[in-house]
Amino acid sequence: MTSLEIRELKKSFTVDSVFQSLRLKKEKKEVLRGLSFSVKSGHITGFLGSNGAGKTTTLQCVLGFIHPDAGEVYLHGERVARGGRIKSVGFLPERPYFYEHLTGKEFLQFFSRLSGPGASYNESARVSELLRLVRLEDAGNRLLRHYSKGMLQRIGLAQALIHQPKLIILDEPMAGLDPDSRLEMSRIIKAIAADGAAVFFSSHLLHDAELLCQDLVIIRQGALVYEGPTLELLQGLNSGFRITYGSETHQEVVVAEDKTSLQSKIDTLRSQRKEILDVRLVRPSLEEAFERITKI
């Protein structure tokens, strides 16, 4: 089932460019050029692209913060109307600015009341459960202005989950976090997806995306470059084969680019009476794959 579908999304911004004959020249910058993709329920989908590729603009269009010039957004199968209500979506912004005069608990209670499922819903139990999930039980009564960046990121995530949404959108959730907090964030994201929600997150940190995401959406200059499983992308872009030969004490390595070259190299080594110790498929990292496909 599809949680999010985007069809032919287009968005341009007018930017101040240069002074020409004492007049400020305005230029139209096309940020999204007919972008289309979808996000499956229960999957963790990474949204990758270089700076200025249009990731944040896409997320802003999906969430209705900005209006696209053309194209459609479908959330849980329903078309999102201009200025309409965004239902069952959790969102963690890149820079988590929240109401600093509230404590962590009050902050979650506020959002719980805004979109809580109804009278039968146990608000305080849900708040405690989420504070436990993001490991902030001890900081629940502290004002948000005294939270560290990592803590704000985690309380922001709890806010995004308070109403048990079917789709969670995270804008650079790992940015600026220390290694411990990143691991913590990865653990929570996996736990959310295991509960059946779709997680769609944009990131610059390709290593984290490689470890976490089943699917990837990669864009370049506002257009789709790749959409599909992470494994498929990495397998499709294999870097060839690595043949190790020689003796236990002295090993040498030769690389074959494809299967034909692999066979001929093995035949050559055999004819030279060399002992083949190991043959391995060399897969590129997501970083290498990203570099290759975004430079095509």
Binding site: F65, G84, K87, Y99, H101
Partner: protein, 256 residues
């Protein structure tokens, strides 16, 4: 819809009541009311009347300053800090957000108007002012004026920055208070274009003097209930119009 507007309004009220700038304006209002006791001493005959007049003016100015400077940045702050974004992802529409913010500020104004009027009542009682029974009516007038001004601020906030919002609203407040003078001069004027301009202004800017019953209280003139109800209905009409336009504009704009 009402539930969400109520939740945002209550949260907004709590947020504003914790703002330091509010303390400054409340202190100013209290100072003006207390100062009215000293000003009243300047006259032997009309002491109570002068005290009350000065106190009421102080209260009105304080309410308008709070409305302008707190209400003028209410929407902008949400956009600047991007706190609005997370709110809108919790099934809240932009219209509900604007209404919630408006009613939150309206609640703050109600609390402050009530608190300051209690102090003013005490001052009136101390100075043996005769017509204190008219005080609720006058305070109600100040309050509905502040609500109309707040709706003007929301209209400008939906597309402009705080500086422009406050400046434009202040301009409308002055015009709103001088509408009777404008009508008087347009009657006397022979210029058709000036008359047309005055007519146009009377259509597009609310007449804020309509909500002012200060003189009636000071000189115990009769401001009947029908007048108060008509003025309240007029204020309600303007608030609806201004909020409708502000929500329409806010719905159309890109929030980033």
């Amino acid at each position: 819809m009402i539930r969400r507007v109520k939740i945002i309004a209550i949260e907004t009220m709590h947020e504003i009541l914790r703002e330091r700038i509010l303390v400054l304006f409340v202190a100013f209002g209290l100072l003006m009311i207390c100062l009215s006791l000293a000003v009243g001493q300047l006259s032997f005959v009309e002491s109570a009347r002068i005290t009350m007049n000065f106190g009421l003016s102080g209260l009105q100015i304080a309410l308008n300053l709070i409305t302008l400077f707190v209400g003028g940045s209410l929407i902008w702050q949400e956009l600047e800090k991007r706190t609005v974004l997370t709110v809108l992802t919790h099934s809240v529409t932009r219209t509900e957000f604007i209404l919630g913010k408006y009613f939150g500020m309206a609640l703050v104004l109600l609390i402050l108007a009530s608190a300051l009027s209690l102090v003013l009542f005490a001052v009136g009682w101390l100075t043996h002012f005769e017509f204190l029974h008219q005080l609720p009516k006058v305070i109600w007038g100040f309050y509905i004026e502040a609500l109309v001004v707040l709706a003007m601020l929301f209209l400008f906030s939906s597309f402009a920055r705080p500086m422009l919002t406050v400046t434009a609203t202040m301009g409308l407040v002055f015009i709103g208070h001088w509408q009777s003078d404008l009508a008087f001069f347009s009657e006397k004027s022979e210029s058709a274009s000036f008359q047309a301009l005055a007519k146009f202004i009377s259509w597009v800017v609310p007449n804020l003097e309509r909500y002012n019953w200060k003189s009636e209280m000071i000189y115990d003139e009769y401001a009947n209930l029908q007048n108060v109800l008509m003025a309240s209905a007029n204020a309600f009409f303007w608030i609806c119009i201004l909020l409708t336009f502000s929500t329409l504009l806010f719905r159309r704009r890109d929030l980033i």
